[in-house]
Amino acid sequence: MRLRRVRAVAVKEVLQIVRDPRSLMIALLIPLMQMFVFGYGVSLDVKHIPLCVQDREASQASRELVRHFGASRYFSAPRPLAGQGEIVRRLDDGTCRIVLVVPADFSRRLNDTGAAAVQALVDGTDSNTANIAANYARAVLSAYSAGLRLDTVQRRGESLQTLSPVDVESRVWFNEDLESRNFIVPGIVALVMAIVGAQLTALTIAREWERGTMEQLVSTPVEPMELLVGKLLPYFGLGLMDAAICLALAVFWFGVPFRGTLFTLFFTTSLFLLVVLCIGYLVSVSIRSQVAASQVALLLTMMPTVLLSGFAFPIDQMPALVRGVTFLVSARYYVHILKAVFLKGSGLTALALPILCLAVYALVLVVLAARAFRKTLD
């Protein structure tokens, strides 16, 4: 690999980029727009989940419990249900996402044994919302039990100190206020980076074919690896700018807490960028029309990232086979890394495994991309 030829290709590509202000604007504006569109559109924040209640006891204690749910901002005002049939109907037509069933012996059990169970039926069609709803219900229930316990203690006239406090509250770590946005926005950054990164390079080879410059280019001694590196360098710079835009929006606009270091972020983002740039390049090498290359690149990056990266659908709830497939989705590692860097402040050592996976991924793609380019017209 000759440095001079790499530089020649890179300089040529930079000149072409800066002389095409429209494409340049698009390259910088698209991620901005996508961040807003996805950031607001895909927000999985769950508030005011439609709640129905079947109170089979209607005692003071059960009504108190229902009142707790109604007071929570997570649930809508509880709607009373009469029979079993109505539960199914309500869940089916979506007017109700979670049904709380209070058994007829609720207060008796509470008094006799000090413990009673209620049933929560959650609509699981949207697993994310279901999860969150179930967690909220648990949180409300534990707040309610804590109150009960306090009452008991005071009634017995014991001092608070003598009673060892039992903390049954399930705490949500790293995302204390349970803002799903904090989970989702780092995923959106990964999504936007995947789409934009591949788009940047998807046109670069196809354009040379379309404009007829490839025929002369392949007649020169330029090596495929030189062409690859020379062409990736400028887009790598552009991609980093896009990354900066996305990440800045995530922190300053969407208010996602950033607890990691900039270095970790830069390092991992560079790796992921390399992967998606190579994907775009590979598409560009295989498809000689710009329009088709752009569409294929979009499909290849967007679909797996949306469906299989764990950004919207939790990977651990996927069927084993699909879960296996997710290991082939590069965004999976980056989504994981971004969430960890943002919310946990994880460093390079904590993220060694996903970083390694991403690095191997990048290496394989670089080799593939350099080899895929053949210096012939047939």
Partner: protein, 311 residues
């Protein structure tokens, strides 16, 4: 030829049902301008591409500068320059930037390529346009820029696919001056052209037809192969003239030219009166009728017709 720089043997390329190049063989020596001529679709571009090793032949051998192109497609590229039929430079780069790009790809030392660019641009009267974007050049200037880029390293073999199509006569002269200069330097050149007056400037010519090499000789040698003679008949109604003359005994072919038609006959002295008589009978107006030296165009039409009849 012992000092052949380009040697082609049994070269074939098929695209589906079309045999674009069919068993081609020729050789080009140092300091020789070798012309590829033939009608559209004859296989000129396909041949050029295989010589430039940007396309793999199905069969045959190509040896360029002593290196087997099929076995080592990348090794010859260092010493070969290829100028494709379609403009292959970057429209959004300036003249200088395009030249610099190719100088870098061929790793020409900075001093050398600057000096060469200067000379080449001056020779093609392009110095004024050095900072102009290639996309804003005229067709002729684009071709001259293409040649400058192809020559910025010092190639031993130059492959030019219809380099002067769409180039004005003045620029074509400059173009050929540069090629003659290269010939003196010992560069082997293969040039395809649609202009038959240009074919006459080549040292040797190959006539391609449907992928096959019909004839290969010097222009003078080819002309000597043309049997019979050429009559030039000036007339304001050349089409009627052609219809009247075609099919007469001894008439081998009729080619419309600017002032009327060229009629290829087996024997000028015997046929001239017969033709004059036939034209008068058909009422075709003629102003002049005489024997002329055949042009290359006449030659090719005649040779192609003979080839057609033979095959």
């Amino acid at each position: 030829m012992t000092d052949a720089v380009v040697e082609v043997e049994g070269l074939s390329k098929r695209f589906g049902a079309i045999l674009a190049v069919d068993g081609l063989g020729f050789s080009v020596g140092a300091g020789e301008i070798f012309g590829l001529v033939g009608p559209d679709g004859a296989g000129k571009t396909t041949t050029m591409r295989m010589l430039a090793s940007v396309m793999r032949p199905d069969e045959g051998h190509v040896v360029v500068d002593g290196i087997d192109v099929l076995a080592h497609p990348e090794q010859t590229k260092r010493h070969v320059s290829y100028m494709p039929q379609r403009f292959g430079l970057y429209d959004d780069l300036t003249v200088d930037e395009n030249i610099r790009f190719y100088a870098d790809l061929f790793e020409v030392p900075a001093e050398l390529w600057r000096q060469r660019a200067e000379t080449l641009l001056a020779a093609s009267d392009m110095t004024r346009f050095r900072t102009r974007l290639a996309g804003q050049l005229s067709g002729g200037m684009k071709q001259k820029l293409g040649l400058s880029c192809a020559l910025v390293h010092t190639p031993r073999v130059l492959l030019l696919d219809e380099p002067t199509t769409g180039v004005d006569p003045l620029s074509r002269r400059e173009f050929w001056q540069i090629l003659y200069g290269l010939r003196a330097e010992g560069v082997a050149m293969v040039i395809s052209t649609a202009y038959l007056d240009e074919a006459e400037r080549c040292d040797r010519l190959a006539l391609l037809h449907r992928g096959r090499l019909m004839y290969c000789d010097t222009p003078a040698g080819l002309k000597a192969r043309m049997p019979g003679a050429m009559l030039e008949i000036a007339s304001p109604e050349p089409r009627r003239l052609r219809d009247a003359v075609q099919g007469l005994p001894g008439v081998e072919g009729v080619l419309l030219v600017g002032i009327g038609a060229h009629v290829h006959v087996d024997d000028a002295a015997a046929r001239l009166p017969q033709i004059a008589q036939a034209l008068a009978a058909a009422g075709v107006e003629t102003t002049r009728m005489e024997t002329v030296a055949p042009t290359i165009e006449d030659l090719f039409v005649a040779l192609l017709e003979r080839g057609e009849k033979a095959s």
